[in-house]
Amino acid sequence: MIGLHIPDSFIPLLQAAVYWVIALVFIALSLRWARAEMREEKVPLVAVLAAGIFAIQAVNVPIPWGTSGHMVGAALAAIVLGSPFAAVFVLTLVLIVQGVLFGDGGITVMGANIINMGVIGGFVGFYSYKGLNRAIRNPYPAAFVAAWLSLFVSALACAVEMAIAGTFPLGLGLFSMGLYHAVIGVIEGAITTVALYLIVTARPDILPKESGVTA
């Protein structure tokens, strides 16, 4: 949904560089994941899937009070591919294209955006799904909460980073972005859940065995 792509100049250069370094570590790890997957290497597969997620993010989703938003899809990618690194890989590629081609999310702050949407979105989405699914043994509510959480925590992280940067007050940031994404997250959660249901119906074999999803 709108409001997570931090633009250039909202984070000072030095801090942006620190985020870039952290992001690069995760990108390297995700590349290693894509290469060392036990069944077969996934680099090309994930590259093509990233283009698919780009298209998915381009689908306009109506928001009840009149505007339109779009999916982020980090939790969906992580859940279906069975690794948070899938989200890091996919979202990194998507953010590079969005940043360089569209100017959606900046260049210097791209590291921060990758951390928020890819790393935090992916890890929160994946592990909350895994934990909840183990606890309640039903993948769909688990996916709903996971997708909601992944968006919500990403938004909080975004607010914290800008507060550190001094370009947006912490309290107001946490409140406004948190509230907005808590609401919007419900839509992300609903779409993720229903999309997951469709994927399980059509291609149950894609999902990792331990995900506990059965068609």
């Binding site: 249901y197 469709l198 119906t201 059509a202 291609r203």
Partner: protein, 277 residues
């Protein structure tokens, strides 16, 4: 009043690419209409005007005598059902049944009517046995039928099929020809389709339009169109093999009457041989 009529219809794509150039097209009631042309001739572009997916750059399109407006576009799409070439772009529900129900649901029909419509559409297309299947696992030909059923369920009076035989094997093509013919015969529907497989056309068309580079370069019955060998060659189409063979023999002085379908040809040859033998 024609079901569909275009008058000097032009469409220019962004980047000044000419899609349609002064197209005058008429679809009468209960007709089977073939639009033939090479790839990129403008067939799909024309079809997307029939239900208001594309708007004319200039010229007019009239559906039952009326132009398409914001207000009547839903009515138009109910009246003119367009089935696109690739069924994968049109099928997305978890079951065949739900997918076929999608159109009727969007028309705001009540549950009972939707169920009835779905039933009927599945039956007409001959896929009642697939109703609970996951569309994803169906064969190409089956998916094609699901896509058609999805449109039939909206009970259009004009069915538009973009390259319906693409990717089908001979048995699939045969089924489709029979299906199109039965829609026209049994349900009185008007069926418009595009194809570059010219050999099918004599068996399933009352009217033929030939398109090239966005223009309609010829139209008429099969007989009128398929005698124009040079014209067809110039638009990168072939004359179906039967009239081509008979034409070549006639040029060599063989006395045989022209034929278009297999059965006609067989009779023509028997007659020619009989007369001479």
């Amino acid at each position: 009043m024609h079901l569909i009529e275009t008058r000097d219809l032009c469409h220019v794509y962004p980047g000044n690419v000419r899609g349609l150039d002064r197209v005058n097209f008429i679809a009468p009631r209960n007709a089977r209409i073939a639009v033939i042309g090479a790839n990129g001739a403008g067939k799909s572009t024309l079809f997307k005007h029939f239900n208001g997916i594309l708007q004319p750059t200039s010229g007019t399109i009239l559906i039952r005598g009326e132009p398409i407006t914001r207000e009547n576009v839903k009515e138009v799409r109910k009246f003119v059902g367009v089935v696109f070439q690739n069924p994968d772009d049109q099928i997305f529900s978890p079951t065949v049944e739900q997918d076929v129900a999608f159109g009727p649901m969007n028309l705001g029909l009540d549950g009972e009517t939707v169920r009835h419509r779905v039933e009927e559409a599945l039956r007409v297309v001959g896929i009642t046995h697939l109703r609970n299947r996951v569309p994803h696992h169906l064969s190409g030909g089956e998916k094609k039928r699901v896509a058609i059923a999805g449109i039939i369920a909206m009970e259009p009076q004009v069915l538009v099929l973009d390259e319906p035989t693409a990717g089908l094997d001979p048995a699939g093509v045969r089924d489709l020809v029979d299906f199109v013919n039965s829609l026209a015969r049994r349900f009185g529907m008007t069926v418009i389709y595009s194809t570059h497989d010219v050999s099918l056309v004599p068996e399933m068309a009352d009217i033929v339009y030939v398109m090239d580079k966005g223009r309609i370069v010829a139209s008429g019955t099969c007989r009128e169109v398929f005698v124009q060998h040079e014209m067809l060659a110039s638009v990168r189409l072939e004359v179906p093999v039967i009239p081509r063979l008979i034409g070549a023999l006639r040029q060599e002085g063989v006395g045989i009457s022209m034929a278009y379908t297999f059965d006609e040809a067989k009779n023509a040859f028997l007659e020619a041989f009989g007369r001479r033998g």
